[in-house]
Symmetry: C2
Subunit: 253 residues, 2 copies
DNA sequence: CGCCGGTTTGAAGAATTTCAAAGGGAGTGG
DNA sequence: CCACTCCCTTTGAAATTCTTCAAACCGGCG
């Protein structure tokens, strides 16, 4: 983990440094991005479908998700976003939002004007490349979720999702370890929100999670996930980190 | 429809002109892209998961799809690609393919070296912007498919997919009309391939298509789809063109 | 004419949803 | 500090959607 980063831009710097190596100049340029920080409660819509934003959101702390409400009120969640993510970077290039962005926990959100981002991308092409790479990885995650929802069992889906979250939290240094080397990450979303992400009903999510607990693979308490058997959880979830395109694959013992 | 376009680059030019307006200079620059054209049979893998391509593929004619094989042989198709699409543009920025690209019909495929694309994007920033926009729309389609697979009934899923294909074929001028103003598009894929796209079994796809025929919404013959009741098909499929971000929404009577 | 891949059909089975109700747990107000 | 409340989770039972299996059918092509 890089300790050069501090302040409100730190999560973004950490995030980008898993995509590529940042020079001092680039770090300075990113740190100079104007950032209007706001504290947001859980369950607030930050950007709405149909909006034409002139700024993008950096998640500084907490959990957010992108989603769309379809037909008779069903919700599909497309992605979860943790500290360092810019979930709506694409609004720079696609004016009209075709989905919404919402917090799932209390969160710190920083707003960056598109103008500033454009200037950054013009003056620091290497950073632009990182941001684009990031957007493409975003798409890779969508594809993997399609595999989940379309072709995996409910048990595999939830396991896979938990594996992804663990891997992403670890990548940005936000996962903790127990004495026994079990990984701990925040899991602030409700089971309804897990279901909306993986195309499952609340009831079934509950049953599947119970099964994972019974199998001794995980435990959950106080909105916190502990992975008790990482190897097994990966296997049940048919999980392979490839699609996350991490530069240095973090290895778990 | 723009008639300035001819030759093997024409499908790409038509495709980009639905994203933005092309100047003569841009048309010239795109037409100058080196293009190695190959005729490919149906069902051939063009790019494989794990590859590190140095060129990207332009679909000049025919149908292709991106997909991944998971777990015990199940296949998830992520997207269909018609003439003018560059399905693996992203391999310029993400070295290692996390999925495969395959033809679904006999096709003409043009290979463009990444180097040439990079040069184009550097010298024609507006074209670069269009290509990026295109990549982001790609992601928007993934998201809509997630809604389909995760939250819509089988009948709605198939209807929605057919609506999308009709809309995309129309956008690039590849849809025909009957005397009665019904839209006709190619539908070369098998029902197994439709199922793999929408997370359904062959059997169920067959039943759903039968139902759509019985309802009088569509007819299919000789790998060709005729939409008999566009309004109704859209409604059944909960279809809204928003997510395709077309510049000029093509209106159907 | 016969083959072959793809489609259709029927029947049985599995996974998941829906409905309904009870059970917890964390924060709030008395 | 207790009791209440609200939201979330859990459980059971019935219903539904979709899958699987198996077999027949169909249409284009050699």
């Amino acid at each position: 983990m890089d300790h050069r980063f501090s302040g409100r831009h730190a999560p973004l710097l950490r995030r980008l440094s898993i995509v590529g190596t940042l020079s001092e100049e680039q770090i300075a340029a990113i740190s100079a991005l104007p950032l209007t920080v706001r504290k947001v409660n859980a369950g607030q819509e930050i950007v709405r479908q149909g909006d034409r934003p002139t700024q993008s959101c950096l998640i500084i702390d907490g959990l957010a998700c992108r989603f769309k409400i379809i037909g008779q009120g069903a919700r599909q969640i497309f992605s979860y976003h943790i500290a360092g993510d810019i979930p709506d970077l694409q609004s720079m290039y696609i004016e009209r939002m075709d989905h919404s962005l919402s917090t799932l926990s209390a969160a710190m959100v920083g707003y960056i004007p598109h103008r500033a981002l454009e200037h950054l991308m013009q003056t620091q092409p290497a950073v632009a490349r990182m941001l684009w790479r990031d957007a493409l990885i975003d798409g890779a995650i969508f594809r993997e979720w399609m595999c989940n929802i379309g072709r995996r069992s409910a048990l595999a889906r939830i396991s896979h999702l938990l594996c992804e979250l663990v891997t992403r939290y670890r990548a940005v240094g936000l996962a903790d370890l127990t004495k026994e080397n079990s990984v701990i990450i925040p899991l602030p979303m409700t089971q309804a929100e897990l279901g909306d992400a993986q195309g499952l009903s609340i009831v079934h999510v509950s049953r599947v999670i119970k099964q994972l607990k019974t199998l001794g693979l995980i435990s959950i308490s106080r909105r916190t996930l502990t992975v008790l058997d990482w190897a097994q959880l990966q296997q049940v979830g048919d999980f392979d980190t490839d699609y996350l395109h991490l530069r240095d694959e973090p290895q778990l013992s």
